[in-house]
Symmetry: C2
Subunit: 440 residues, 2 copies
Amino acid sequence: MTESAKINIGLLGCGTVGAGVAKLLIGNKQLLAARVGADLNLKWVADIDIETDRGIQLPDGAFINDAHKVVDDPDTDIIVEMIGGEGIAKDLILKAIENGKHVVTANKALLAAQGNELFAAAAQKGVDLAFEASVGGCMPTIKSMRESLVGNHIKAMTGILNGTCNYILSKITDEGISFKEALDQAQNQGYAEADPTLDVEGFDTAHKVAILAALAYGMEINLTDVYIEGISRITPLDIAFAEQFGYRIKLLAISKFLNDRVEARVHPTMIPFGNLLTHINGTVNAVTISGDAVGDILLYGHGAGMMPTASAVISDIVDIARNILCGAARRVPPLSYQRENIRKIPILPIDDLVTHYYFRFSAQDRPGVLSTISGILGKYDISIQSVHQKGRKTNGSVPVVMLSHLVKEADVKQALSEISALDVVSDEPVLIRIEDDEMD
Amino acid sequence: MTESAKINIGLLGCGTVGAGVAKLLIGNKQLLAARVGADLNLKWVADIDIETDRGIQLPDGAFINDAHKVVDDPDTDIIVEMIGGEGIAKDLILKAIENGKHVVTANKALLAAQGNELFAAAAQKGVDLAFEASVGGCMPTIKSMRESLVGNHIKAMTGILNGTCNYILSKITDEGISFKEALDQAQNQGYAEADPTLDVEGFDTAHKVAILAALAYGMEINLTDVYIEGISRITPLDIAFAEQFGYRIKLLAISKFLNDRVEARVHPTMIPFGNLLTHINGTVNAVTISGDAVGDILLYGHGAGMMPTASAVISDIVDIARNILCGAARRVPPLSYQRENIRKIPILPIDDLVTHYYFRFSAQDRPGVLSTISGILGKYDISIQSVHQKGRKTNGSVPVVMLSHLVKEADVKQALSEISALDVVSDEPVLIRIEDDEMD
């Protein structure tokens, strides 16, 4: 490793995160050289918009609108894909790999949906494909799971992995406003997109849990079977009831290893105040990872934003640069396990889930109603550990809230469907899953 | 990297953590092979006690009492030093390095006091010297700072890095008992040593902050100039007052980068409830690291214990094994910066510290006393933002509690010395430093 060693980097896509990567490579160039012992040279920045000033100083001719020129340049060592989406981004990554280049991406949607194909291509060409920034922004999630916990059987992980949803739920919790009002505020603050579906309906979080589950258990990436439920139906009323029972509601990515199957699910979840995740508020992210040796570790940090995400991209660039300098490509297998040890492990269908539930029914306030509801629950073997009936009448109905013991989701659905058909019950029953190891 | 690749490991010291390392290498052997693509073979375990059964199955002749035989074995690739202390452990590490072997250690006392010599020796021989388990047990502290945050100028870090102290402070806080009673409980639970000095007087935490500061800023390790103050004088009364002002008291390792100097200090600290570290209770550890790109990240996990610490040791073993398999020794510089870029950066003397303070005086409850105390504080330019005088009289005295604006420690000491000499003030004044970015 000589002082004159130079690694050439081609950046594709100069949006928010792409521009952050360029700024860090340029602004912290000396720092990176002092740590890596080589010059990380931003040779190319390609974007369809080469007019807008991003405040980045590049040599003449380095800022171009032809991404193919970058991936075809024989002197470029590392391609950093910051375009996003599953179209041109995928084509360019595959072409870069085909050309023997190492690739860094933060493209969780692409990896979750088509990662198996990309990782196979990278393996075949013997190049690295790094993706720390795809999950949890600046949190060292991928590296910790793959390297720091390498000696552990990963048992479970539970994460707040979408800052938009966490901001909205924090707002509803703190201010008692509706989902719609909280979403408006998030949009005004720039924390939610004009079309917020990808975030608030849980899809973005699902992309991340699909990637993490693969890394954790040595399984192929499987987005299709991840259960996904967003936060758009969460009300201040349910949040207030949750609080009375000692819980807070968070949109969680949950994954557990069950030997022959794994859980991988995304949904609003009630967690007890003793859980550190209840204290993670606003746009930040956090994830708890449980291993057989470590017990629980928790990571916390900005899950999005220009510079935090760029910091994670830089850590991938440096990892690959170090591999290049040592001739050690693919020193760590991208998906944590050697390829021959990666299996297909089925994801548990949500109907087979066994957990605790919170139910809220809008029931007429008259004798016999509670007994009717309880009777139906009993018929489906749903045993209840706590019932709460109070609050003001709305259209002649009062909220009846119940917490269940451990029961199976398929039974819950049948019971709720039957209860919902009762004349004395108005509105759809509300169901929120609970994660609480202390409950019976 | 062939299927038959084998890395031979020699473990020196089979106490609690050493036995944990052996258990993980043996129990999770298949998992490690599936991830690393090689056999991590525990060839030797050396300990002065080879009679006690640790529940570890080793081949005949592998468990020996001659550590020198292990470090001299030409077929052993990695030496894992789990003996502790600065005597024989240092000799064996130096001999292993001299013999061209890579070394893993968790020996924070040795690294903090004599690490510069050890890292120089490892550099000269071109071998790795890894130490993830020396700070924060299973938390990926070293790897995160060195690799995940590689693109960041580290600005500061704040850590709860000693589980014994955190357990004791949590007990005093929750139960209102004295330090002595809480220490007794910690000893009964096995969370504190018979001689607890190393933990409760802050020395163990100081070892860790000395190591982290070196990694963070590219400076030589300097334990000598770290300011160290333990928790033995913390009372339930001060904890209760802190709570009234919205603070909790934690033993913190604090380090900040001030361009030409760094702060590196260990002392009981008041932090506001909004800080996640106030929620870290019991024996666990947590550290917040601030970088110019990431903002703050927080890591949380078991800072001690057999298996959590062993997990961190295994991550080092795997890192080195991967380097061996790829011929990439010293791929990452152990102290985060290339050696030629490591500087001596002076640590700010504690007298030059400028921060907020909590004072508690035992003053006679009569007119003019508060004015006398305030007059002395004013003389030394110590401006007070909050005064609290109430509570019951003890021997004719009442507690007077004050929070200061930003003031210099040298001035505080002079003022407190003068106040302490007043006839109307009994007992030594209490001083607790505050870390609160929101304060004026």
